[in-house]
């Protein structure tokens, strides 16, 4: 790792799972997550020289979020291919996973996928990517107060969606 700059291989090997998990929670299905990760890694490659030593995963989360938002905007212009919440693709059980926890995870994932992107993105960045409000605000180019508001509203909407699913 010369000059502290991570190589593409290091990014893929050491942070690939993190990157894929964030992409999956944003997109809601494996096919779109795979696409997001590929595009993100291409951007990682082109942006490596701009990387400043610090939170590599924060930087990766920001890039994959930008890829996701770009794709959401693009698909809005072509609404037949909206991104996210395909119920048939949500969270295939992992081998050996506990049935109850798998079911709960599927419910939470489905609720997450049901959130409008403006709330889903900050919630995923906070609770999946473990980013601070300041990092999220920078990633989304919004004030911290907006991050606060969207995370809270997002969680309230999640709660409502989970209650509705349970009912």
């Amino acid at each position: 790792m010369p000059d502290g700059v991570p190589t593409w291989e290091e990014v893929a090997r050491e942070h690939g799972r993190f990157l894929y998990t964030v992409a999956y929670r944003l997109a809601g299905n494996d096919d779109d997550a795979a696409d997001l990760v590929q595009e993100a890694l291409l951007r990682v490659r082109t942006g490596l020289q701009r990387y400043e030593p610090g939170s590599l995963e924060g930087w990766l989360a920001r890039i994959v979020t930008n890829v996701f938002l770009d794709e959401v905007r693009r698909r809005k212009r072509r609404p037949t291919s909206a991104l996210g919440d395909d119920p048939d693709r949500v969270l295939a059980p992992a081998p050996g996973a506990d049935e109850a926890s798998t079911e709960l995870s599927a419910e939470v994932q489905a609720a997450l996928a049901s959130l409008p992107e403006e709330f889903r993105v900050p919630v995923v960045l906070c609770d999946v990517a473990d980013q601070s409000y300041e990092q999220i605000a920078r990633a989304l180019s919004v004030p911290i107060g907006t991050v606060r508001s969207r995370i809270h509203r997002g969680r309230r909407l999640l709660r409502a969606a989970l209650v509705e699913e349970a009912g």
Partner: protein, 152 residues
């Protein structure tokens, strides 16, 4: 905003440790006097814990290997926004990634005779990070309908 002028969104910030000491004291005081706020706190805490408990997600088998190995034909190099939704497009990225890795770490992952069209550098530049700086990256999504179709 509650009748006491304290915004309810402080509850999430409180749980996330994203409040200053003055705000924390105000939330503590409000929680002590309001059953409604305590109920919201419990609900938000549960939801927050549920999302944080979601397991890490592994990429499909072979995803990373294919990405690194990339041995696609030139015509499979298709950027995300023009890719057919009917089939997976790992191979284009494999080529780009392999070439990128070779360029970055100096390892010849791509045989010398393999041509990448467009050139990786050109392709990379064309898809360089589209910075959101200066724009509110997600406010434009406000009011978006919830995605209901993947369209494959």
């Amino acid at each position: 905003v509650s009748e006491h002028g304290l915004p309810e969104e402080l509850i999430s910030a409180y749980l996330d440790g994203e409040v200053d000491p003055k705000e924390r004291a105000a939330v503590d005081a409000r929680l002590a006097e309001s059953a409604e706020w305590r109920a919201v706190l419990d609900e938000v805490r549960d939801v927050r814990a549920a999302v944080r408990a979601l397991p890490s997600r592994d990429a499909p088998a072979g995803f990373w290997d294919e990405l690194v190995a990339g041995d696609a034909d030139d015509e499979n190099i298709v950027p995300l926004h023009t890719r057919s939704r009917g089939g997976r497009g790992l191979r284009w990225a494999g080529v780009a990634a392999a070439a990128a890795a070779a360029a970055v770490i100096g390892i010849a992952l791509v045989p010398a005779e393999t041509r990448v069209q467009p050139a990786v550098s050109t392709f990379g530049e064309a898809h360089a990070v589209r910075s959101s700086v200066g724009d509110d990256a997600i406010s434009t999504l406000a009011g978006a309908t919830v995605a209901t179709e993947v369209g494959r």
